[in-house]
Amino acid sequence: MNFFVCVCLCGSVANKLRKTAEKEFKNMEQKELRETEDKCIQEQPAYCVAACPIHVDVRTLIWQIKQGKWEDARKTLNKTMPFAGILGRICDHPCENHCKRREAGDPVAISALERCCVQKVSLLPKISFLPSKTQKIAILSGGLRSLTAAWDLIRKGYKIHIFTEQNRLGESLWDLPESLLPKEVIEKEFSVLEKLGAQIHLNAEKDMGFFKANPGSKEFDAVYAPPENERFLAPLEMTWLVSPINEALEGRKAAVTIDRQIQKVSLTAGREKEGPYKTRLFTSIENIAPLPLTPMSHPESGYTPEEAIQEAERCLQCQCLECVKACLYLEHFKGYPKKYAREIYNNESIVMGERKGNTLVNSCSLCGLCEVICPNDFSMADVCRNARTSMVKRGKMPPSAHEFALRDMAFSNGEKFALSKHEPGHEKSEYLFFPGCQLSASSPGHVETVYDFLRSHLKGGVGLMLRCCGAPADWAAREEIFQAGLETLEAQWEALGRPKMILVCSTCYSIFKRSLSHINIISLWEILEKYYAFSLSDADKGCLALHDPCTTRHEPQIRETVRSLLKNAGYKIEELKYSGEQTTCCGYGGLMSNANPALAKAVIQRRAEESESDFVAYCAMCRDALSSAGKRTLHLLDILFPSDDADPASQKPPTYSQRHENRARLKEHLCQILWKENVSDMADHEDLMLNIAPEVEKQMDERRILKSDIQKVIRYAEESGNRFYNSKTGHWLAAYQPVNVTYWAEYSVSDSVFVIHNAYCHRMTIAEGKR
């Protein structure tokens, strides 16, 4: 099959399959999903909508007015409001008391906007009928409440008869001033009833008398007799005696009851949100400048359209989005947690077809910021973690999402780096220093310096353990790899006599706290606070913007200790907008940078732009991420244990290859100088000398190609002879597949040094026997 055709087919077949995919609920049942979704309040109605007795979609209405879309605005009113031409003019607006804008200025003049809208557009509602019903209903009044009931029941298909003793419909509405409610509007709005088939019986004293005498009339399936009407307005004070909007609500409620009674269904079920209720929405008014009501040039006739648009602009368009404002990941996928939870659930349910939600699931840093910010504790991390676990279990996790990070972890737990020893000259360890894989990769010199410091200040022996805590496997939901790593770590800790572990990395700290809770741990920063001797000259070194790692979100004592260390070292601290409990991830957490490198780059770029000041971090990955965004950033250890580097804040982060080399060399170096052991054991490809230009090295790093991968390609090509030659350039081109990835290297040879001109990789393989 043609390759391109296959690509197209993948899409179209996936679409067809998705449509026909059976619902298979593997991980999250519908009920669980609804509970999860329900925590996100973004789709909760705005305060005004919930407060409106008939729940007019005020937020949309005002948005449309603001855009000058008057006809759309009128259609929005018509959807919910009966006889909007009338009610839109006379609504007594209980919603305005609940308008969020009143916390920053005057409430939006919602009723004046409605009035302007219906004055400008006299559009009657479009009716789509339900199938006609045979039942007949008598409505014994021509007041607003009764006509609302009639209106709702007609639209349900009932045959409606309206009886009034008066000679027109509307009752006391006719008493309202012409300037407020023109008579022609009343006639026009109520004319719809007759057009839709309602039988209107005017001057029907006789019929009314009959109904009073025979309340159980057999001619009609239901009879609605509202309480005696009252006047709407007190004539002189012009205050409402009866609330028009509540009249509409009562009529609407009556229609629901009558319909349910006729249909013989529950009269009460699902009616909790009839009438005003309290919304669960949260809208922040932080940074919202107070604004006063837009003045009305002619109060008698209401707002002019221009004035109305100006007033509509004051509307806050209430929504929550608190987490989305704080998290670029949540913003990036153009939705909000409730929507994402549904998308992820649907992604899970696809039996065959393309799972478009995979990137959404794997891009989350699992940092927990959303949960802290959300008024309802919605956790995207939980949703994504569960989805990842399910994907791994079902063999549906895309291999490329986390494989590189897992290889990195395997390297750290392999013989090149892993180590577990008592302090030289000791047979017992009171403490065990665990610097973690990333500090060792990023600043191996600091690991050595800190280990020296700890040995000289702590008694009882300070052992050393080099390896990875397992966070990448945990983030990737590779439970077996994670547990295997923990078991080895635990066995080595046992073998050293169960010492107290000193952790530098806050990710390690969180993993130990959660998964190795029986191990006694302490943060290096707490040890340093106790033992580090600050010199008196350490005063006023300037100000640094402090970036807390996301894994200290729930570790206030570590955050405070770091602040204390910085202050003692003579630095002023600039707190970033998102700091402490609300700090943001650097883009490494949750393996975001593996699954979605472009997003991780944008995340750290935004973080770097939060302050003009130099940053200080106390996590090696955070420091390196900030540096990669061009931000001058110190690691706290650069301050406490300065090296010969005159400007450590400008230090560029090491490439992935350098990270491996740094770890391996750290182990070799420490074994040599402390334990007098030679552990250097080079694999046969590692003795190949490579010359890689910086731009090629950068490209290799972005493509997650290690120097050692390229060495393997060349070793294979040189030994097997399987390679191509370009006689014009004198370059060789060869490929080798050491793992699930095939690496290609274009190289030349100069004085036994292999010059790398290009490197690329892919995952597809040439089918067996075809190469």
Binding site: G11, K356, N722, K770
Partner: protein, 70 residues
């Protein structure tokens, strides 16, 4: 059959082992249990196949993503 490489590749590169020229040939490529046949430069003697960078980082990467999400 669509061509997923620059024709000039056939001129520029030859098989270093055999010294032979590369010729367009049908090659089966596979990933995640799916298999496709495409045309690629191949040594006419030993059958060594060249996958160019433009294909690896272009269409091949796209298809890999689709297959991983299937």
């Amino acid at each position: 059959m669509s061509q997923y490489y620059e024709a000039s590749l056939l001129e520029e590169w030859n098989c270093a082992k055999c010294g032979a020229a590369l010729k367009p040939a049908k090659v089966d490529i596979a990933y995640m249990g799916s298999q496709f046949t495409i045309e690629l430069p191949k040594c006419e003697i030993c059958g060594l196949v060249l996958i160019p960078e433009s294909l690896a980082r272009g269409k091949m990467a796209e298809v890999e993503k689709i297959l991983e999400d299937k």
